[in-house]
């Protein structure tokens, strides 16, 4: 066929769809704003629910795009896509233009900026960290409080930046619950004498093996779960983090002290995705992610024929779903060219 397809973003969705496109015989260009591919996967330690090392998946994805039909352009941010006579022109920050017959947008997500939940004191109190930072600590093997102590009591705050009108995000980020469970287990493994508490509103374990992991966290690792949205965090005179929450299942307010608090940050439409949407006339939904053409059978399509979406740029998604979504985007691309013939 020798058609050219451009993939915007070299995260998991971008790499997987590029590989599939190449399998279908297309020549592919991937644009990545970072200096290397991998997206958020780069910062991750172990993946849920089977605790596989993220490097394994990363290696798989790097193998997928390591072929002559695929050209990877890093440090290149796409600012605009326009359609002219059935062909697409992609503009980058370097003001270069590239032509393509079809586009797959895989601009992914940004993590919620935790400073916006001021009451949790992120950026104010030292030992309030995000789930992404904790992954890095695991990866680097330095699970420590800022003063060098090994944390003995760690709390996980669920739904930071998700399901919260106060920060404008009404949706559930889906993977924070299971991430918290996984990280709680890992804390217990790293520091066996530690106590770990998760503060949740609902434990949403809607994936294969998730509920089992949740159960294991209780049975094998003794992770504690307290139902209530954390109201505020402060630091006391001893430097401990004081947390206020209602233990809703007994209907009493609760005060607790922690060495470290982990904010389970949610997902938001990426800034680069937002810019692309505005410049290119791509529609976004109320949740600010790209609006798919149809919730059930058009989740890879948008409002411009020939521009397809894959992965977390359309909705919050875990890695399994992202990879599947990426492959189904390629199906839509194939179908697009078949229709055009």
């Amino acid at each position: 066929m020798n058609k050219e397809v451009i993939v915007i973003g070299a995260g998991a969705a971008g790499m997987e769809s590029a590989g599939q496109l190449a399998n279908e015989g297309f020549s592919v260009k991937i644009f990545e704003k970072d200096e290397s591919p991998g997206g958020h996967l780069k910062g991750w330690y172990h993946l849920f629910p089977n605790r596989r090392d993220s490097v394994e998946v990363m290696d798989y994805l790097l193998d997928v795009i390591d072929r002559k039909e695929i050209e990877l352009l890093t440090n290149t941010t796409v600012t605009k896509v326009s359609k002219k006579d059935g062909k697409f022109v992609v503009t980058t920050t370097q003001n270069k233009e590239y032509n393509a017959d079809a586009i797959i947008v895989t601009t992914g997500f940004d993590l919620f900026r935790s400073e916006r939940k001021e009451e949790y004191g992120y950026g104010i109190y030292d030992n309030v960290i995000t789930s992404a930072e904790l992954e890095k600590m695991f990866r680097n093997g330095n699970l420590r409080c800022t003063d060098g102590r090994i944390p003995q009591k760690v709390g996980f705050i669920h739904c930071v930046g998700s399901r919260d009108e106060k920060v404008g995000n009404f949706y559930c980020s889906k993977l924070c619950c299971v991430s918290a469970v996984k990280q709680a287990i890992e804390i217990r493994e790293h520091v066996p004498e530690s106590n770990v508490f998760c503060f949740y509103m609902d434990i949403r374990m809607g994936g294969s093996g998730y509920e089992e992991l949740y159960r294991e966290s209780q049975q094998k690792y003794g992770v504690n779960y307290i139902r209530g949205k954390v109201s505020e965090v402060a630091e006391n005179y001893e430097g401990k983090l004081v947390l206020k929450v209602e233990d809703t299942l007994v209907g009493k307010p609760l005060k607790m002290e922690f060495d470290m608090l982990v904010l389970m940050v949610g997902m938001e439409m990426s800034e680069s995705g937002k810019e692309l949407a505005v410049n290119s006339g791509l529609l976004t939904g109320e949740n600010r992610f790209f609006a798919p053409a149809d919730h059930h059978f058009g989740s890879n399509k948008g409002n411009v024929d020939g521009i397809f979406y894959a992965g977390a740029c359309t909705a919050t998604m875990n890695l399994t779903e992202t990879l599947a979504h990426a492959r189904s985007a390629v199906d839509d691309v194939v179908d697009y060219f078949r229709r055009k013939k």
């Binding site: 159960r215 209780q218 049975q219 233990d247 299942l249 007994v250 307010p253 609760l254 607790m256």
Partner: protein, 114 residues
């Protein structure tokens, strides 16, 4: 000291750090399923005593873990130990034994033996 017609009130917060969690430790050591509860409330729903009063085994499970000793004491007395809770629990929590152990622990606590 002066009387102003009102008094200082006791803080109702569960003060986790200050609370005595020996009862929970006593139970954890003897009944590991104590930690398996996912607070579904099945036990409280089927409870024979709960049919008549506000006894909630689910709440008791939590209160023990938080060290709210006085409330636990008053609540577990209401249990009739009929065992329906244990039968319906989806997580296999031996609720009945938890109640019995809590009773034991409280006795010991009061006798300064814990």
């Amino acid at each position: 000291m002066s009387d102003f017609g009102y008094v200082l009130l006791k803080n109702r917060h569960i003060d986790y750090e200050a609370n005595d969690k020996r009862i929970a430790e006593y139970i954890y050591a003897r009944e590991p399923s104590f930690g398996y509860c996912m607070e579904c409330g099945c036990c409280a729903g089927t409870c024979t005593s709960g049919n008549f009063t506000h006894l909630s085994l689910r709440e008791i499970n939590i209160l023990i873990k938080r060290g709210e000793t006085s409330t636990i004491k008053e609540q577990i007395d209401k249990c009739m130990l009929c065992g329906k809770c244990t039968l319906v629990c989806p997580r296999g929590v031996n609720t009945r034994n938890i109640i019995i152990l809590a009773g034991e622990a409280i006795q010991k606590l009061e006798a300064n033996e814990l």
